[in-house]
């Protein structure tokens, strides 16, 4: 006979476990989406010659880590800026009143792998180009990504700790339920022993009971997550546009359900085996 309290604790543990799986997918998408968006922008001083910039562009393109390098001249940068803000009359008016083009020529460098930006930034810093380079914005982007990564890491650690804590609680509660089942069936167990019942026949029902707790709690926690995900999915999409959680859940329906059921069964089996070893004498 399965008990409600045991199922509740098991469901809670698996609910947090599934939350961690979903959060992990979400965080991975968010970080890689940000990494996709970053590049290294090298801003040149106004007196830097276009030849010098184009020479540097060619040498950077020769680096194996570099995917492509885009040169945006002062004029092009101004044209892009104007086009971007054509509907903002204040900016347009301000630009018209300026005598000089305030924008700087820039090289936008895209790496093949986001992890290579450090190497490219080192190359630029060691090349003694201080005379022509105004600034390299890699450090600012790196800070944002590092901060996001550390938040994600910390959240994952909290999730793992919470899952372990609740898993232990679920094991203890299930263990107790199995122990009670063994006690309440002690007459039947002693008769089974007396008549020479195979050991697996005596122990089997309690292992199955543990697995049942895990399976039912796994399915139940998955069913609880379903409407939650559908409800929060549009809000999540505002922050991480690449992530449609509803779609993710539909696409990974069977694998997530399998994770839940396997993890739940694992917890239930451990509980049963410990209870049987301690309380079911053959």
């Amino acid at each position: 006979m399965l008990t409600v309290s045991t199922l509740t604790i098991m469901i809670l543990a698996l609910f947090v476990f599934e939350g961690m799986v979903i959060f992990n997918a979400l965080a991975t998408t968010a970080v890689s989406s940000l990494e996709e968006k970053i590049d290294i922008s090298v801003y040149f001083k106004t007196n830097a010659s276009e030849d010098g910039i184009l020479n540097l562009k060619r040498s950077i393109e020769g680096l194996s880590e570099v995917e492509n390098v885009e040169y945006v001249s002062k004029e092009q940068a101004l044209a892009n800026f104007k086009e971007k803000h054509q509907n903002d009359s204040v900016i347009v008016q301000t630009l018209n009143e300026l005598d000089d083009n305030p924008l700087l020529p820039v090289l936008n460098i895209k790496a093949k792998d986001p992890r290579n930006y450090g190497t490219i930034a080192d190359y630029l810093e060691k090349a003694n180009l201080g005379e022509i380079i105004e600034k390299i914005n890699y450090a600012q982007n790196k800070l944002v990504i590092d901060r996001l990564t550390s938040i994600v890491d910390a959240s994952e650690k909290i999730g793992v700790a919470l899952t372990i804590f609740l898993a232990l609680a679920a094991i203890l509660v299930t263990f107790n339920a199995i122990r009670l089942a063994i006690y309440s069936n002690s007459d039947q167990i002693s008769i089974m022993r007396l008549v020479g019942s195979p050991n697996n026949f005596i122990r089997g029902p309690y292992v199955i009971e543990g697995i049942m707790y895990g399976c039912i709690a796994g399915i139940a926690s998955f069913l609880i997550w379903w409407p939650v995900i559908n409800a929060v999915s549009p809000y999540i999409a505002r922050f991480v546009s690449e992530m449609d959680l509803s779609l993710y859940l539909k696409g990974n329906f069977w694998s997530i359900l399998a994770y839940q059921v396997v993890f739940g069964s694992f917890l239930g089996t451990i509980s049963s085996i410990v209870a049987i070893r301690r309380y079911l004498k053959i």
Partner: protein, 226 residues
């Protein structure tokens, strides 16, 4: 053949249940083990069915050395032994038929075989007309006969009865004793642990007398003397 060879059992330094027990029981014997409460009768039974292990000594049952049996071999070993207790140990929610059939079901026997064997053994113990009754609907003597039927269903070589008449009135006591004698005559060893002087003296069979964990007397046609 059952052999107890220098068997001792102690639960702590101060709690010695059995001390240097030696006896042999041959095929077809009917042996009463007698003694006061705490003399060690039940401990001998627990050691014989492998429920506990001796602190010292060896116990042999046929080709089995019981004290060395691994738990994985215990079920097969126990099918050679039938056991009945004073408290019957029947399953209240099962009928007489189901209680007896349970011993075959746990072995995985086919339903057809169960349907053939259970009525035969219930006939042997005189309960053929009670197959559909629950234990609560039976007298003490009938309950004990159901327990004996369950113990006999596997045709064991030994039937151990631990105070089987302790909860019964005189009439039912003799019914059960007569049944044990009948089972013995059919070829099984019967080991009867009891503190009933009347039963032991009436049977006139072999008696092993225990006192404070030691065998103080072992007589072929013994009497209850304490």
């Amino acid at each position: 053949m059952i052999i107890f060879q220098n068997v001792s059992k102690s639960y702590s330094h101060s709690a010695v249940a059995l001390e240097k027990i030696n006896f042999k029981i041959q095929a077809g014997e009917f042996v009463s083990i007698v003694g006061l409460s705490g003399a060690g009768k039940s401990t001998i039974i627990k050691l014989l069915i492998g429920e506990e292990k001796p602190t010292k000594g060896q116990i042999f049952f046929g080709s089995y050395e019981v004290n060395k049996l691994k738990s994985s071999l215990l079920p097969e070993f126990r099918r050679h032994i039938g056991v009945v207790f004073q408290d019957f140990r029947l399953l209240d929610r099962k009928t007489v038929f189901e209680n007896v059939a349970f011993a075959l079901e746990v072995e995985g026997r086919a339903q057809k075989e169960i349907n053939e064997l259970v009525p035969q053994v219930l006939d042997l113990v005189g309960l053929k007309d009670k197959v559909n009754n629950f234990p609560a609907e039976l007298s003490g003597g009938e309950k004990q006969r159901v327990a004996i039927a369950r113990a006999m269903i596997n045709r064991p070589e030994v039937l151990i009865a631990d105070e089987p008449t302790g909860n019964l009135d005189p009439f039912n006591t003799w019914e059960v004793v007569k049944l044990l004698v009948k089972i013995n005559e059919l070829g099984s060893i019967v080991i009867l642990a009891t503190h009933s002087k009347e039963i032991v003296n009436t049977l006139g069979r072999r008696v092993i007398t225990l006192d404070q964990g030691k065998v103080i007397r072992d007589e072929e046609t013994g009497r209850f003397m304490m």
